[in-house]
């Protein structure tokens, strides 16, 4: 019975599957899913007596993208970790603020020494004719500001660096 392991949002999920003709019975954490590929990239899923449909493809960086109920989930197999993180994927870095896409800085309301709160606007980058505010994801103190208003930025160079506050509530 083939076994699989995936990480999704940092969580690891194991499953085992069994093929029956065109269908696959996949057991995930005690639930059984009957998955049937219907056409390229499309799957029908039966679980708890209900039918759902999903689309899935292999993404640019080797991850698996699954479209289910208007959401897209990204899964990686453990061997994929080395391929993870394409250009501009800075989702986990809370101490560095990047532009979401190449553009021009039109507002930079913080300076070294300021304390920022989660969701506080740290920079506004103009791209695609709209102003895109970028917010801090955690509480911290601004320890470096590498650009100024009017500068063109890409998605790779951090604009602002924070010294994150240690959260005593976190394990």
């Amino acid at each position: 019975m083939p076994k699989h392991e995936f990480t999704i949002n940092g969580e690891t999920i194991e499953c085992s599957s069994e093929k029956h003709g065109r269908q696959y019975e996949v057991k995930v954490l005690g639930r059984t899913f009957t998955v049937t590929p219907t056409s390229p990239g499309l799957f029908s899923v039966l679980v708890d007596g209900q039918v759902h449909s999903a689309a899935a493809v292999v993404g640019a960086d080797g991850s698996i993208l699954v479209d289910i109920k208007a959401s897209v989930l990204e899964l990686r197999e453990p061997s994929d970790e080395e391929f993870a993180g394409g250009a501009g994927d800075h989702g986990e870095e809370k101490d560095k603020i990047f532009a979401p896409m190449p553009g021009k800085i039109v507002k930079l309301p913080v300076k070294v020494g300021d304390t920022v709160e989660p969701r506080q606007q740290v920079v506004i980058v103009e791209a695609m004719k709209m102003e895109n505010p970028v917010v801090a994801k955690a509480r911290g103190k601004v320890k470096a500001v590498h650009f100024a208003v009017g500068d063109q930025v890409d998605t790779e160079s951090p604009i602002v660096e924070l010294e994150l506050e240690e959260d005593p509530a976190k394990a």
Partner: protein, 508 residues
């Protein structure tokens, strides 16, 4: 079979609206010519047109906005008409003027009507003359802070700074008190200059929690002018519409008739021809005010088409060809309820940051009363060069609640992988009790969607995704991780089938 209205029409646009217009040409048996920049070399609109002409590098200024290139492309291919779509040159009076000089028919209003209504300040002045209710505020543009200050005091805070040259949320700022006025004007000017090339701004009283109701109008070149009822466009984010519907729950027959008549008055006052939209704000007390007129076909036109049973692109082409309004447009009524959701390339779960990438999987929802106007296909690359709209999903149902349910189902079966969208956000908005109840004001998103709970259906979606991923990894060849070739977006049957034998299989 009636004679062709035009020989060939050049569509001076791209993506979903270009595809939509090509569709209209096809219905009328008219040849279609697409134009494309280097970024759109593999685009759907280029593919579906009868002919296509390359018009330069990606930046709009060097391609879609370049009137000379557009005109040359039309002449090269023998086009006798040009349709501008929306955005780009659609409200640029230079285009109809050039068309007139070149003896090419422009499918839209005259340059004069465009100029008048395209200038938000000038149109306010004109409407005041013909007794259409206006939002209190400035009736002339200004640059001195003092003029704005006085106007703000007269209208009473809160006030709104708006760009004279365009809309779509660009160049707009709300000001709650005199202290914020200077900064707001500055920011609005900056944005307006960038979006429209014109930093003229003016000031109006800010109407709190209004509904945004617009009326579709059609006017031919024989003096006939009608309205095709309203569209409710109150679900907006940063002043960009994302969900629109018709009819509006806020209008009863009497109010609808009054607003419709006002819309027709506006169009007549502007000597308007072809398709246009008159926008109103409806306040909580049932008063409506003229906001602006859009001198083009709008993004959300399909909802009007579905409830009235009309084809606005076809009507536009007919009007431009000098025909009177079709008989089918007499005695129109609204039948059922239609909703549109716009699919933008943006991350609905991450502050709507623009999203780029290659579309690795694309499948549209289908079924009775489900319509998709799409500019994308699997394998296409979405870049940062243009407005991020990719497609529109529209549903039609006998009543509003059924339409909402149908739209949620359609959003959940619309599969787009490779680029992020805000489908989940729209599902949440549609399922929200305030939306279901019809309490849709322009503040809807701020009021109801700012705190979005991490919806966990007790892990079901995650587990389901893992199950599907397991099957995918067993049935496809996970080859190179680079390159967006067709094998990634759409595995071949050989890849999907897995191992197989000729003849009877011994192990089941």
């Amino acid at each position: 079979m009636s004679e062709k209205l035009f020989n060939k029409i050049l569509i001076a646009n791209r993506s979903e609206i270009a595809v939509r217009i090509i569709n209209g040409c096809r219905v009328l048996g008219i040849g279609s010519v697409a134009v494309y920049s280097e970024a759109d070399i593999n685009s759907k609109h280029r593919l579906v047109a009868d002919e296509s002409v390359a018009i330069g590098p990606p930046p709009p200024g060097e391609s879609y906005l370049d009137i000379d290139k557009i005109i040359n492309a039309a002449r090269e291919t023998g086009c006798d008409a040009i349709h501008p779509g929306y955005g780009f040159l659609a409200e640029n009076p230079d285009l109809p003027e050039r068309c007139a000089q070149e003896k090419i028919t422009f499918i839209g209003p005259s340059a004069e009507a465009m100029r008048l209504m395209g200038n938000k300040v000038a149109s306010r002045v004109k409407m005041a003359e013909v007794d259409v209710p206006l939002i209190p505020g400035m009736t002339a543009a200004a640059t001195e802070l003092d003029v704005f200050r006085k106007a703000a005091e007269k209208a009473g805070y809160p006030v709104m700074i708006k760009a004279a040259a365009g809309g779509g949320g660009k160049g707009m700022r709300v000001v709650n008190g005199p202290g914020e006025l200077g900064d707001a004007i500055e920011a609005a000017r900056r944005e307006a200059k960038n979006a429209f090339g014109d930093d003229t701004v003016y000031l109006e009283k800010f109407i709190a929690n209004p509904r945004h109701i617009e009326f579709q109008v059609l006017a031919d070149q024989h003096g006939n002018c009608i309205h095709l009822f309203e569209r409710e466009c109150s679900i907006q984010r940063r002043h960009q519409k994302i969900i629109e519907e018709t009819p509006s729950v806020a209008l009863d027959a009497k109010l609808r008739a009054r607003m419709g008549a006002a819309a027709v008055n506006v169009a007549r006052a502007a000597d308007y021809t072809n398709a246009g939209t008159v926008e109103f704000l409806l306040d909580r007390d049932g008063n409506f005010y003229f906001l602006e007129m859009n001198t083009r076909l709008q993004v959300e036109h399909p909802i009007t088409e579905l409830v009235t049973g009309t084809d606005l692109v076809v009507e536009q082409i007919r009007i431009a060809a000098g025909k009177p309004l079709s008989d089918g447009l007499k005695n129109l009524t609204q039948r059922g309820h239609a909703i549109e959701c716009r699919l933008y390339a943006e991350d609905g779960d991450n502050n709507f940051m623009p999203s780029t990438g290659t579309i690795r999987h694309y499948s549209e929802p289908t079924g009775p009363g489900i319509r998709v106007d799409s500019g994308i296909m699997a394998g296409m690359e979405i870049t940062i060069d243009y407005d991020p709209i990719m497609a529109k999903l529209i549903v039609h149902a006998p009543d509003r609640q059924t339409a909402i349910t149908k739209m949620v189902g359609a959003l959940e079966s619309y599969r787009i992988l490779g680029v992020k969208t805000s489908r989940k956000f729209m599902v949440e908005a549609l399922c929200h009790p305030e939306f279901r109840a019809g309490r849709t004001y322009t503040s809807f998103i701020d009021d109801n969607m700012s705190e979005r709970a991490e919806q966990d259906d007790d892990g079901l979606s995650r587990e389901m995704a893992a199950a599907v991923a397991a099957v995918l990894s067993m049935t496809t060849v996970r080859g190179s991780v680079t390159g967006a070739g067709p094998s990634e977006a759409s595995p071949t049957p050989w890849q999907v089938m897995g191992s197989w034998q000729i003849g009877d299989s011994i192990n089941a």
